[in-house]
């Protein structure tokens, strides 16, 4: 073995004499992140520079979003003082926007861990640079989602009555209630997601510890727990991450299934449907992947992460979004056709109001956003790889999925088996303010965290770059992956 062969580090470009092959190599490097290793301190800086810098844009966003958080908290405080009577809640619509938000944000929280865990278990390589940004979407969306039952609770300080502990009231929460399952599923998923994200973050926190001074150094020295990158640490981390991946995927499925059971376990027409579980899971992943796409595009634009987030990643995410749109179509049609064919009196009323009544604009807009627009646009590679176009499609998906939840919760609840008690819900100022500002709350936490932890898992990217290479077959260079057992 010659010394030169030993000493060529992986980031040094291969010396290719053939002009045509050199052109192909350059093209492949531009296209694939994992074929494009850079000098490591330089690659670290791509992530650290935007993290350490707080630009004017950042502060403007910080103030706007912080203001939204203040409005959220103030409105909640006012509502706590005066009671839920301020909202448009009525009989029979006692579940409305807050529950829509709960379902919506849990849905958004679905894709992050799914992308990270499922794509990890399936060894899909384009997940590498996007997995942490996705996990963070999960963590923050779930946190805000978990806030909504409390907002909806009126007397929010009584939330601990849901916690099973031997208490002075001689009362235990009923473990046979879907609401209880819901609380446990969200708690399990939220704690699992936080631990999963933190486990995968340790090597990157250690990297920041090594490249910072002052308070940052002290903070990351604690946060990285003393990570050095020994074989033992890597091997234990891999085992732990694998266990988490395989455990958190069924938990992820259970969470939105249980959320759907909050509705489906009742006898309310339009809710009492056995397909609600998988239908909700599909919808959750759909809106969640859309939200992750939007987050990635914003991160790339404002943190200048062009090196890490490339067309190939948006292409993969776009295809994923299209696939989930079709899955959603399938489940929605299943749910719709059964009630349409059954022709039950109350469900006939829904059908009429949705297709030709006052709710028709909402219903058709939902179908357009969820089914028609993705199907018409996402088949095109050009749309999938153009960030602005993909952002727009993902944004419409959010509108469509929010409308879907709105039509499921307050709309359906207005029509029960007793026509004399039918009612329509009209959102009032408090819940509208809280709803709008809850998006600000998620964004606020996300904006703050982008300055504290690297949103791209650098070590996963570097690992991928070590394992990927080029193989010459005839006149072409082909991207290959080495897969150690």
């Amino acid at each position: 073995m010659s010394t030169s062969e030993l000493d060529r580090p992986i980031w040094a470009p291969e010396d290719i004499k053939d002009e045509e092959l050199a052109r192909q190599e350059k093209h492949l490097r531009e296209k694939h992140l994992l074929l494009d290793p850079r000098f490591p301190p330089e690659a670290n800086r791509y992530m650290l520079d935007p993290m350490y810098r707080t630009t004017r844009e950042f502060w403007i966003l910080f103030v706007i979003l912080g203001g939204m958080v203040m409005i959220f908290m103030t409105t909640w405080g006012i509502q706590m003082y005066w009671g839920l009577g301020l909202t448009g809640l009525n009989r029979p619509v006692m579940w409305a926007l807050y529950i829509v938000n709960l379902v919506y944000f849990i849905g958004v929280g679905h894709a992050g861990t799914f992308i990270s865990a499922a794509l990890r278990a399936l060894k899909i390589e384009w997940r590498r640079p996007i997995s942490r940004a996705a996990e963070l979407v999960t963590v923050f969306a779930l946190m805000v989602a978990a806030l909504f039952p409390l907002v909806h609770l009126g007397r929010s300080w009584k939330f601990y009555w849901l916690v099973p502990y031997p208490n002075a009231r001689q009362l235990w929460p009923s473990f046979h209630s879907p609401l209880m399952w819901d609380m446990m599923a969200i708690f399990t998923y939220l704690s699992g997601s936080i631990l999963f994200a933190y486990l995968g973050m340790l090597p990157d926190l250690a990297m920041i510890r090594d490249h910072s001074e002052g308070w940052r150094h002290r903070l990351y020295a604690i946060l990285s727990l003393g990570w050095r990158g020994t074989e033992k640490e890597w091997s234990n981390q891999e085992t732990a991450l694998n266990i988490f991946s395989y455990v958190i995927i069924p938990v992820m499925f259970s969470v939105h299934t249980v959320v759907s059971w909050d509705f489906a376990m009742s006898l309310q027409p339009g809710w009492h449907s056995s397909i609600f579980g998988p239908y909700f899971v599909a919808g959750a992943l759909f809106s969640g992947v859309g939200a992750v796409i939007m987050t990635l595009i914003v991160l790339r634009r404002f943190m200048h992460l062009d090196y890490f987030l490339r067309a190939e990643h948006f292409n993969g995410m776009g295809m994923f979004l299209l696939l989930l749109s079709l899955t959603w179509d399938y489940f929605y049609f299943n749910d719709y056709i059964v009630s349409w064919y059954g022709n039950e009196p109350v469900e006939k009323v829904f059908s009429h109001i949705l297709t030709s009544g006052w709710a028709a604009p909402l219903w058709f807009l939902m179908l357009f956003c969820n089914a028609i627009l993705p199907a018409l646009t996402l088949w095109s590679r050009k749309v999938r790889t153009t960030p602005s176009a993909l952002f727009l499609v993902a944004f419409f998906v959010q509108i469509g999925m929010y409308l879907e939840r709105y039509l499921i919760v307050p709309f359906t609840l207005g029509f029960n088996e007793f026509p004399y008690s039918w009612g329509v819900y009209i959102p009032q100022v408090p819940e509208s303010l809280i709803t709008v500002c809850s998006f600000g709350l998620v964004a606020f936490m996300y904006v703050v965290i982008t300055r504290l932890i690297p949103v791209v898992p650098l070590w996963e990217v570097y690992e991928g770059q070590v394992l990927h290479g080029l193989k010459r077959m005839g006149r072409a260079l082909i991207k290959t992956k080495a897969e150690p057992d």
Binding site: T188, G226, K232, S254
Partner: protein
């Protein structure tokens, strides 16, 4: 415990594997050698023995604890406080309990995996070990622990195989106290927090929240003294006499009243109860039970108001006459009925 710790930094895995092979041939056991890197390398790439971790087994323990905990919550609490719900079986409803079982088992597994990961790696580690920040810039470090003469040989190997930086430090035998404090805090802090929470939850410290249910007046089930009904409330079972209302204001018995009563009786009552009130009117035979004999003691001993209410509301087959007779007219009829017994 060997006296020295050495660290050599390399650019690439190939010379690292070479160095490890040579260090092993010097007689340094594998347990005294470590590789530190910014990306995970497989053991065989670096000519190192495969790592066997205990995280998986700890995760299984967590899963088992989760199953036990879930069983306690579902079965145990169901035994203590049976809560029959929507026709679910009275012994133990299995399907809903399975959901709780699933969630808590998964929670136990994940928590145990994380705690196990910390424990087997001795995280968090506050004591500084031999390390170089260049590792996170892509360099691969080989760490070896050896005694005096062996350490010099190892250093030579590191230099010879192309390590661009070699360091040697003396191993200190300091205990990592801060790590112990951390684990102590992990146990103690939640307990203290729980205790503080318990002060509020068990009403040892009571916050003056205006809507506290316990602050409201209440009486246990089937126990006295009965509280007076709140002002302005009305009974929901049967009628009641309310001062100032027609039923409480009888018309005095006089000639005119009795005469009016008789006329109204003949029109409204006589066809069933009979002209003399003996319950033998022309329609009487059509009813079972038959119309009451108004001359009997049972009827005559009724309070005036009761008779008034019977005429107003009806009883058994008898219809209420509130739409046919005004309250004053009803009192006239009451006076007339009272006169039938004499």
């Amino acid at each position: 415990m060997p006296r020295y710790e050495l660290l050599g930094l390399y650019f690439d895995p190939a010379p690292v594997a070479e160095a490890i092979t040579q260090i092993r041939s010097l007689g340094v056991p594998d347990s005294n050698v470590e590789v530190i890197s910014r990306t995970p390398y497989k053991a065989e790439m670096l000519n190192r023995p495969t790592q066997r971790g205990r995280v998986g087994r700890i995760a299984l323990i967590g899963a088992a604890l989760g199953i036990l905990g879930a069983g306690g919550l579902t079965v145990g609490i169901y035994m203590l406080y049976t809560l029959n719900q929507g026709g679910q079986p009275s012994i133990l409803p299995v399907p809903p309990s399975l959901i709780v079982l699933f969630e808590i088992t998964m929670l136990g597994t994940m928590l145990a995996t994380f705690i196990g990961f910390l424990l087997v790696n001795n995280f968090p580690r506050f004591k500084s070990r031999i390390y170089d920040p260049q590792v996170t810039e892509g360099h691969i470090g080989v760490v070896a622990r050896a005694d005096d003469s062996l350490a010099i040989q190892v250093e030579e190997v590191l230099n010879r195989t192309g390590a661009h930086a070699v360091r040697r430090v003396e191993v200190t035998d300091k205990k990592d106290y801060r790590s112990r404090y951390f684990w102590g805090a992990v146990v103690v802090v939640p307990l203290i927090l729980l205790a503080i929470l318990g002060l509020f939850v068990y009403d040892i410290i009571r916050l003056p929240i205006p809507s506290q249910m316990v602050e409201q007046e209440s009486v246990a089930f089937q126990q006295g003294p009965r509280l007076p009904a709140p002002a302005g409330s009305v009974p929901v079972q049967g009628s009641a006499l309310i001062a100032g209302q027609p039923a409480s204001e009888p018309v005095p018995v006089d000639e005119n009243s009795l005469q009016r009563g008789q006329i109204l009786y003949t029109i409204n009552c006589a066809m069933c109860h009979g002209a003399g009130g003996a319950g033998n009117g022309s329609l009487a035979s059509h009813f079972t039970p038959p119309p009451a004999d108004l001359t009997t003691k049972d009827v005559q001993n009724l309070k005036l108001q009761d008779i008034f209410l019977i005429i107003t509301q009806g009883r058994s087959k008898m219809p209420g006459l509130s739409e046919n007779l005004s309250p004053t007219e009803r009192w006239d009829v009451v006076n007339f009925i009272r006169s039938l017994g004499k």
